[in-house]
Amino acid sequence: MPLVDADVHNAFADARAELRPFLPRLWQEFADRHGIAVPPAGYVSPVGVQREDARPPSGGLAGSDPDHLTRDHLDRYGIDYAILTGSHILGVSTHFDPDWGSALATAYNMNLAGRWLDRSPRLRGSIVINHSDPEAAAREIARCAPDRRFVQVLMGAGSNRLFGQRFYHPIYEAASAHGLPVAIHPGTEGAGNADTPTPAGRPTRYLEWHNIVPTNAMAHVNSLVCEGVFEKFPRLRFVAIECGIAWLPHLMWRMDKNYRGLRSQVPWLRRLPSEYIREHVRLTTQPTEEPENPAHLLQIFEMIGAPQMILFSSDYPHWNFDNPRVALAALPSEWKERIFWRNAAELYGLSLPTSGR
């Protein structure tokens, strides 16, 4: 069976050396004096984020060597395509200075094309944008989109506004115009100018923070539907990477129930909220929920009622990696085909030997 991994984290071997050539002179000077770091969320994993066993032979950060990543992950598991989602970069949207964030995003994408996408045709890129300046983000999307190796737009899920709001619509307009999905990835909640990871405040530790980041995705999906983003941009697809899945039936049911009584506030919606979610939202699997009874996860998938919504992801080389040979073993074979490659092939326009594309 073909295999597409929708969340693979390439990392910098040396962020300043890699990005500096692509920064305007002013920001080169800034980087030379102050470094490149994006604002941290501040939560520290006791096992680290990068897998110890995934370090390249050079001893650098896991995921920082394209050839090693290709051998260690793609070759080992027979992965046809990996969608690269970056490391230590999504915080560009949380800098207090949006121009610095946008300059870093552009430099990252330029470096990604040369250092990664040129290296292997199995690697596909995400256009990292700074969502705190949507006009600049739209320009960056337009700049990168002609290179079809970029298959989606990617932004950190931490923000100080909900993603459905009109402030962000230039991003969706640009992505739609170029036929690119827009993805979010957690990790920047509470960083820099992003609001606290929960509306009730900051979790105490990494474990607690990691447990609760899906609520942020719920908030964004809710906002995107209610603000009419999928009516305004009917071609748009939105991917919530690494945000979990099991919460979705609850959100769909609650939104539909409220819509039946309160639709007068959102007259631009013409269908039940869950119908927009099924058509426009995609979720990645890792970290797969592992209920005591594996059949319960299958029931959740059935409740969502949409096998086309879910994409396999491993999160290589992060600590909570899902092994494609072990994860989701209980799924029926037709769902496996959709989840392990066909959905991603359709979403990202990937040619696979048996996909007929």
């Binding site: 009584g261 007068s264 007259p267 631009w268």
Partner: protein, 128 residues
Amino acid sequence: MKRHPVARAGEITPGGRKIVSAGSVEIGLFNVGGEVRAYRNSCPHQGGPVCLGRISGTSMPSRVYEYIYGMEGRILRCPWHGWEFDLATGGHVVDPDVRLKGVPVETAGLERLPLEQRDGVVYVLLPG
């Protein structure tokens, strides 16, 4: 069907209503564009007293961030959960297949005058 006299036509003013009982059945009478409409006072959703809800218009289908107010005086919103019903048809605005339970009405008197000027009796028709 049995005819129950339940109101004088002039009591049901435009945008107003009258709640009546016929036998053991509670019914809401509404004046919709000069015609009497009668519905059982029980919401098809959870049995709430739908006929006691607010009568209003609503926001019509529109483009994103556009607000078009319409159906003024034709929307009845159940006080439980806020479901909107079109008083002209009894249909739920979200799902027109979900309907208020209509009750047939007969208005005696001068049919060509506006309802509130008529002196006739409003009858509802119920089985039995």
